[in-house]
Symmetry: D2
Subunit: 337 residues, 4 copies
């Protein structure tokens, strides 16, 4: 088992998907131990560190990577299995940002109203008791919420010669901001360029579905993932799998198009994997799919459509990749102990 | 405890919210035992009963009601607590319908492509084992899905002098098509006209989030609900409560506006109930809300935003109405045994 | 030639399409001389008459009518030819309204920002020199804009048992807010109920395309129109015709659906009238249609798609109704002189 | 007067905005004589040259450029005045393309319906009589439409480290597909990177507003433009000016956001140039702006908002750049004769 530990220094972050040289080249089957900085580059550490003051746009949402995967070519699928995602500090931060978020006008949902006030919420992270503590800024209410660490951003280099800012989610993955991207999940991404060139970042100690104000409980993360390459298998939109569910992630605007993408991809995926008639798969999803919103704040909005594997005609997708990668992750954890 | 049993005959259904005379007048606190016909008026009973053949639009989605609630006035809130929702037959039906559903053009998302084929899926309903059986039309795959009965449509007469078809969800409730409308849930609706004039229908044995093809597992239902009136409490958009969650339901187009409505309503509801600062409530929801899609097929699309009551500053909303109505439901069930 | 003059008093306005008894019954071929009050019911007469103060919602946008047309049945088309539309006062009013308009959050594009300030702009109307005078409230800029009188709202009773507020545009016409509804234009509306039950109002001395802030140069109007009935001709969405153009009006959300409706209706209209292949008509419109936005502020957004009649295979649509009605209008004007 | 003639060969086209080295470096004030290939790379020459057969995606919509402008820096504005745009061949082509266009599902407005048929329409271009001839494929209808040559695509390198495919319109310009980009128009684009790096292409002999089927009357063009640099003047979204109008172009999804961008930009532009209060400018645009749709088919949809200069408080924007560049164009034409 190849294990690669990689911790970027400040000059090594990527700010885009595509357009960046790889920081490392790895073989399929490698276990990657990486550190990711938080979306603010670690600069929001207290109530006065307003985002508009400490962040120089577009240098936001730093990515660790990209990693080049040997042998990866357009038409293949990259499978990333998250073994563990753990906050690397005992604090995390959130914020409102002027003209950003779902309950305000933005540069695209343009208007003439004044922006909402800019404020910072700091969270205490208790990794042992698996909580993060929310504290109201006005009044003295506080509450411990379950720690549920995840990556908001995981992606490969885009197709079509493009380079996209790390804030963007699309068919190459990117800033999908779904809480489903937690430890135990395998993320499937279609390879668009030689070497795939994937990167990740934007750790969240937790987030609500929709990430309403635009900023989750942002945190640096220590993450372990198994990287696998599935040759000759195409993946048009990001797909996720955990022990119980298979999922498709659609990202577009308006939000109904994100829904349509996720539903149609899951219909076509299931029809393809199990030889189902498309309308039969459409009917099954109509009755059995769950569709949590992921984000309604990024340049594209994202929705997840998922279905329990127990309801499917067969036991495994992508030739059983998830189970295999999970075993590799177990092997790694056993060795490490 | 007043108990009213009501079973409409064919000529007594309502096809709209508003514009219809009440079938009964009831006192607040009444337990209502009602029967609702399925969305097809019971006419789809086999693979040849194509919707385009057996249904004369707009006579689709018949509603049981409306019921007039004594003393209900604009500015009040109607609270409907669902004690039980049980399929009244051992079968249910679903269908594709030409130019209806989320993965096809429609008269509004207009286009020039041919429609998808029209097909019927019949389901066996096993109330004892709590399952419905899906059977693929092509190939021999079948699977038992959990029975999870609910009402797609619950609403009051609209404001603004309007009469809306029973297919429409909006701020008066209506055809929201969320699986959260199950037994154990209390639905809060703002009263717009004297007497509230609420009705319900569109039973589903279950549905996926989004109701992708436009038609759930449609079934007639025997339903028991407690009807309560909360005087002087306003409710701008439909809200739901069960033992674990409070929820707001937004309905509009595009889908992001449904999201914005639900999120903003929940922010303002929590701020109002618990004296929270609006931005503090926005921040809390950003990290802790769940936002399942309800429907992406009706004249308005619907999204639910919900948050666990365990995360809120106080134990109860609407003065503890949910707990009180749940107790009344228990009392009714005890008496009935 | 039947000529009917009708001037409603305050208690005779309609506030909805549908759900209202006719004020008069007329024969097809009648010339109607009507007066319409402005959208504010004439109550905004100076800078202190804030809409939020003087208007009791939903009593806004009063309609003159409805008129019952003898013999009109579902499946027929009502043709309304506007002979003249003239402001009946020498002033008109516009306004910003809190949480209404395209450059602000609204109850549906919901948010947490403060509303824009509420202000009134009064216009001088010079019918002789055909101008309205805009005056900035801050600074001393003023400019004379061309008088271009039109009706924002023209509609019939909706289908599907519905009653809609006069603020709503949809397939029954209603509050489309397009400047194309001027004298010289024929408006075709599909009949949904016995008698058609059409009404009109919302006179504008002029408006920009999109009616950005939500309020045009609102004015009472003296209007003459010829009312004709086209038996056995269906009209799925509102259509307009003047000497140079035929047009379809789509109304929905999001705005691209309004576009799709208008384009698809015009494709199908031309294909039907002239025996064109649908794809050929689609291609012709792609190169030759003009598509001004009508409104982006009402419950549905509206877009007009239009094409010059000079580019079409034949000289006339609807059997030459426009030319015939125009002649009748000329006859009326000649008699009246 | 510096005049640069540039005609790219096949290997010199750019397929993206950003991410490409400049083909030439020019001084502000240069007159550029360029040739642009059509969007199909000249490969669609007859009814059998189906786009899905002859085009290898993403090598579609080739751009001539990019040109580096000496001294251009972020915060400046590039002004491109089109002196002449003339078709360089006597034919042009259009097409339907599977799952592309406004009246069909697409990979983003995803669905399960079959695609529309793929067909080619060839046009005869008569530069002398200023016509293009449309011919129906089914039946024998043909009509001469006015020749109205324009560029669908004009843009600079994007901000935020991004590289975008030439099919994309956004705040950097790009594939806006508005017929307003004709000879006599000045296009203002904000500079995002050192040297601006602008390119252009996608000539259309004409197009309808909305470019409904996704493909205009595509043609190679001989184009002359004057390139000017306005130092220290920022331009957030593309703006156009001709002798009669100033215009803003918004590009986003859903279409109402494109409208909001264009309207808000024009409000803020006018407020800034003329010291108008923002609400006064909003009111003026509400009554006097024209808002033709540009495209409803590209990765972002585009809308133009324009207002007659005669209605504005002052005679000139951008310090009179348009008039100055027009004079330079006249000088060039006089010399050349």
């Amino acid at each position: 088992m190849d294990v690669l530990a990689y911790r970027p220094n400040l000059s090594e972050f990527a700010w885009t998907f595509g357009g960046v040289k790889p920081v490392r080249t790895i073989k399929p089957g490698t276990v990657l131990e990486v550190w990711t900085e938080d979306a603010f580059g670690g600069k929001v550490r207290g109530p006065d560190d307003l985002v508009s003051k400490v962040i120089q746009f577009p240098f936001v949402n730093p990515q660790t990577g990209p990693f080049e995967v040997e042998g990866a070519e357009p038409g293949d699928t990259l499978a990333l299995h998250f073994v563990s995602i753990e906050p690397s500090r005992d604090w995390a931060a959130s914020s409102t940002i002027p003209f950003f978020g779902s309950l305000t006008g933005t540069p695209r949902t343009a208007g003439l109203q004044d922006p909402l006030p800019e404020r910072i919420w700091m969270y205490e992270v208790d990794a042992k008791h698996r909580t993060v503590t929310y504290r109201a800024l006005r009044g003295d209410y506080s509450v411990q919420l379950p720690l549920d660490p995840m990556h908001g951003t995981v992606g490969v280099a885009p197709a079509n010669l493009e380079t996209r800012l790390s804030l963007v989610p699309d068919n190459f993955g990117g800033n999908m901001d779904t809480p489903e991207m937690r430890a135990g999940t395998t993320c499937y991404l279609g390879v668009n360029v030689q070497g795939a060139l994937f990167s990740l970042g934007d750790g969240h100690c937790r987030q609500g579905e929709g990430e309403s104000c635009g900023v989750a409980v942002e945190a640096a993360m220590d993450t372990v993932l198994v990287v696998e390459l599935l040759k000759g298998m195409a993946t048009p939109w990001p797909r996720l799998e955990n022990d119980d569910y298979v999922m498709s992630v659609g990202s577009s605007r308006p939000l109904e198009d994100a829904f349509r993408i996720a539903q149609a991809d899951l219909v076509q995926w299931l029809a393809g994997e199990f030889g189902m008639d498309q309308l039969d798969a459409y009917q099954l999803l109509t009755q059995a799919s769950e569709t949590p919103v992921a984000n309604v704040v990024d340049p594209n909005y994202s929705i997840v459509t998922k279905i329990r594997k127990a309801y499917l005609p067969g036991p495994a997708v992508y030739g059983g990749a998830h189970a295999r990668l999970k075993e590799m992750g177990k092997g790694y954890l056993a060795e490490r102990r």
